[in-house]
Structures are given as C-alpha cells and as structure tokens.
C-alpha cells in the first residue's frame, strides 16, 4: 500500500536522536525569528495563553493559520495538527468542510493516499476477511446519509477549574455535516464476525514515532459489537456532498452518531473484529471519564484513586449563543435576532430557552429546521434590550431523553464532557 506518511521517520536510535537534536537547533533558530510578526500580532490581539483561571473567550486564543484545503482556522498545535473552527461558522446548521475543526493525535498523518492501492480491510476474528476499494464502497453498497455532529471529547476544555493539561480548546472543536457512505453493519456482515467476539476495533492512517505497543505508535479505538450505536454507524466517503478534506479523514472516516469524535476514526483503513476486549492505550488509559453523573469528580478524589472510569461515549446536550457575538454595541430599544445552535447525543434537541435575567426566568427560542436527532439545530430569539448597560444572555437546551443543561460546571482530569449553560455579555448603548 502506498501511503506516504512521515510515520516511523523517527526511530529511537541514538543516531536519529542526535539528528533530531540537530533539527531542533534549526527549529530553535527559526523560533527566534518567527515571533517577530507573531509577537506584533499578539501585542494587538489576544494573549498567547489563558489561565490559571478559566478562559473567558468563546474560541481558543491561538493565531489564524492556513492549512491545506482549509479556510483560516485557529491554531492549537501544528504537529500533530489541531485546529479550531471560529465561532462565526456556526451561524448555519451545517459546518463547511473548509472550516471544519481538525484534531489528530500523532504526527504521522497522510499527505497523499493512492486509491489504486488503498483498501478498507475488514479483518480479525471474522469468517471471511475482505477488502474494498473506494470505488467498491461507492458502487457495491447503497449510499446512506445522516446529519451528525462531530465534537471532540475535550471541546471547551479551557473552561475547567482547576485547569487540566491537554488541547486547550474553546468551543470550536465541533462541527455538523451531512455524512454519506456505507452502513458499518453491511461491511461487518460481509466479513462475518465470529460469535462471541466482544469488540470491533478501528484504525486509520495515523501513526507516530513511538515504540510498538504504545499509544504513540498507533491510534486505535473500539466499540462493543453489541452496542446499538453500530446500527447507526456509517463509513463515510462524502462530507456535505464532497470528498473529505485530507485533514478530516480522506478517503473514508467512521461516523458514530451521538458519540464523541474520538470514535470517528479518520482515514479509516482497518476494521478489526477482536476476540478479546481492546486494551490499547487509547481505550484503557485515555478518553476515559468518571462513572458518575455528568462524569464529574474532584482533584482530591482523583488523588485518592477512588474514581472508577468508563470510556467516554455519548455527548451531553449543549447549546451555544453564536450571534451577535458581543463585539458590537446594541442600541437600546432595538429588537435583535439572537441566533445559536444546539445538539445532543441523546435523542435530539426538543427545546432551547433563553434567559436575560441571570437564569431566573426562561423564554423559549424558536427552533430552526430539524435535520435529524444528531444534527445541529439552529435557534433564534428576538431580544429587545431596553436599558443601556451590560446585559447577559444565557441559553440552555433540553433533549429527547429529558436532559436539560445544568449551570453547574464539570470537572474531571481529562477535561471531557463540559456542557454547562453558556452565557454571552452584550453592551447596550443609549439610542438617543
């Protein structure tokens, strides 16, 4: 298979380490020069980092960057690539591909994929291992489409108190797309998992320089074969009707509706039926949440070692105030259309409410078009602020399972599952 990645470029020998230290010298020199412009920009812009308090900003604070097939996005890290979607792209129910956030774990990601040799393999504990080309997937199976939100488990991590290490996302590690592809169940059926197989593992074209058997070598995720979400999973070759950008997982990625994005394997190449539960780093150690209501715990409980954890799974209900974004004054007495989005991994958004009096009373917002239970749902609320000064609006959503966003914060050491009620300050000025 001709997959050009920088994977395993760094073998852990003394020689390569020395070579790298030499390369770092080059980096160092660059680092001394580059910030001239960056510093100039940062002087007039946001601070380079936030904390130790919670970040007060809607998005993460990194600079704008230009990456292949992408509009200008906000940089978290450049190798592995992590990019956040700016707030303004959430004014619509569907997030454009070129603005869709990016989160890789390891540095070895594809710059090129040759579809002549690339195959999707269904293998492992199956009766008939089988491989499909992209053309096979498009031609041999019925095309299925679903609108579904892809949200990083650590979206909004920069809100946690105390702060936790990890990708310091604002709210933009999410996006909604219409995904089109083949039902995962059909592919599994073609290979025939052997009875008693507990899990199915997914692996894409992502690897790193770490030693074999470590999380720094391969990124792999698994789901139970008995999990009903498998019936809704799609192996998607189209995103909003177009091929996936390389950074979002060309040629195909797994879509797990309602689940956090950690399972949505990009550049999916191996679907592997396992004969025992997956104990690789990314299942056993990473992406785990406390087995408590909302995944909440405390630093003390973690220190005491008393927290039982489970793999992160469905996304709790959330809503966001998108526009206006608070950067312009609003004249008193003028009706303003406040717009936002909401979603839930638990059966669709049923209601969004807005409060303008510090969460004492709530008024219903008008919901936009329903694109399905796993999609963003847009909402709108007409607000007429009467008195000049600082006003705060808050929005909360409820879902089909009867969950309503609470105002209590969440804390766990991974920085996952944040879904506290969002607020936006607005400045209202005198109109005469």
């Amino acid at each position: 298979m001709d997959i050009r990645t920088p994977a395993n470029r760094f073998l852990f020998s003394r020689r390569s380490l020395l070579r790298l230290l030499g390369a770092a010298g080059g980096t160092l020199a660059l680092g001394d020069v580059a910030p001239r412009s960056a510093a100039g920009q940062e002087a007039a812009g946001l601070p380079a980092f936030t904390g130790p308090g919670a970040s007060p900003y809607w998005n993460s604070v990194g600079p704008w960057v230009s990456e292949p097939q992408k509009a200008s996005l906000l940089l978290l890290t450049d190798r592995g690539v992590q990019l956040e979607t700016p707030r303004s792209y959430f004014q619509t129910a569907f997030t454009p591909n070129h603005a869709f956030y990016v989160r890789w774990h390891l540095e070895g990601i594809p710059n090129a994929v040759d579809l002549k040799s690339w195959r999707l393999h269904i293998e492992g504990n199956v009766a008939h291992p089988i491989s499909y080309s992209l053309a096979d997937l498009v031609r041999k199976f019925p095309a299925e489409s679903i609108a579904a939100v892809n949200q990083c488990s650590g979206n909004s991590r920069s809100r946690l108190q105390p702060r936790v290490p990890g990708g310091q996302w604002g709210n933009g590690a999410m996006g909604n797309a219409r995904w089109t592809g083949v039902r995962l169940r059909e592919l599994l059926h073609a290979a025939g998992p052997k009875t008693g197989s507990p899990q199915v593992q997914f692996q894409g074209l992502e690897s790193g320089g770490g030693p074999e058997g470590y999380g720094s070598h391969f990124f792999m995720k698994s789901l139970d074969l008995s999990n009903p979400v498998l019936d809704e999973c799609i192996v998607a070759y189209a995103m909003n009707g177009e091929p996936l950008p390389m950074l979002n997982g060309f040629p195909v990625r797994l879509v797990v509706p309602g689940y956090f994005a950690t399972y949505w394997m990009k550049c999916l190449t191996w679907i592997r039926v396992l004969d025992k539960a997956d104990d690789n780093f990314w299942m056993k150690t990473a992406y785990r949440v406390p087995d408590t209501p909302r995944g909440n715990t405390t630093p003390d409980e973690v220190k005491a070692g008393s927290v039982k954890t489970i793999p992160v799974n469905r996304m709790p209900v959330r809503s966001f105030l998108i526009s206006p974004d608070g950067d312009a004054k609003i004249p008193a007495g003028m009706p303003v259309q406040v717009r936002g989005i909401a979603f839930s991994g638990y059966g669709g958004v049923t209601q969004v409410e807005v409060s303008s009096d510090g969460l004492k009373t709530w008024q219903p917002a008008r919901l936009g078009e329903d694109f399905g239970a796993y999609s963003f749902r847009t909402w709108e609320f007409t607000w007429t602020p009467k008195i000049p000064g600082r006003h705060t609006l808050a929005a909360r959503a409820s879902d089909g399972k009867g969950n309503t966003q609470p105002d209590q914060p969440v804390w766990n050491p991974g920085g996952y599952l944040w879904n506290r009620i969002e607020r936006q300050d607005y400045f209202v000025g005198a109109a005469e």
């Binding site: 790298l20 680092g31 904390g51 190798r79 290490p165 058997g213 720094s216």
Partner: protein, 139 residues
Amino acid sequence: MRSLKRYVTLLLGGSIMLGLAAGLLLAQVDQGNYEPGTLGQLQQAPPAVLSEDSVYQVPAYPLYPPQMAEGEGRAETEGFCSLCHSTRYITMQPPLPAATWEAEVTKMRKAFGAPIPDAPAALIIKYLQAHYTPDTRKP
C-alpha cells in the same frame, strides 16, 4: 484686484463654512480612521497542481515553531519533546502546577515510551517548572 480680493474672501468664507460643517459632522461620527493592518502575515495558498492519476495529495503541513522561554534545559526540551510533537503542545497549556509538569514528562516516558534518559528528563521537568507554572509563566 478687486475681483481677486473678493475671490479670497469667498475662499476664506467657504473654508470656514466647510470647517463648521466638518465640526458638526465630527460631533456625530468619527470618520476616516485607518491604521496599519496585518498584510502578509497570512498568505493565500497557491492553486494546487493536480493530475488525473489515483494519488490524492495535499502539500506539506506548515510548522509554526513557538518562542520558548530562554533558560537552562530549553535545548533538551525542544529536542526531546519534538521527537513526537511540536513544542506548541507546551506553549498552548495554561500555567500548570509544578507537579503537573512532572507528571506530564513521566507520562510521555512511561505511557508513550518517549526515549528520554533520566538526566535530560530531570532537566526538562526543571525547565518547564521554571517557566510554565502559575508562579513562573510570563505573558
């Protein structure tokens, strides 16, 4: 001569009137403010050069090395950490307690198998604690 004088008077009067008008306008709005932009700091990508074969490719992903704090252990930190990831993973973090930095370096060595010997590992921890905690991080 007379006509010239009249012309000057008209001109002066006109200027004063214009000035008054501008003054009135300035009381209502602020106009014509410009300042240097950020031209060239984010360049457009050139058009892709494509062929009709089966290879689908994108250009190299850009690197943006951050400015790391000056101090003992910087070279080791940049060298060893860059084995697997860019040092933006460090500069992106909020100020973290000294114990958290030690735990992070230990995680990289034990959980991720990073080949950092004891001596440079201790230096790296000391460097991160000297520049990236709530007490030590500079804006």
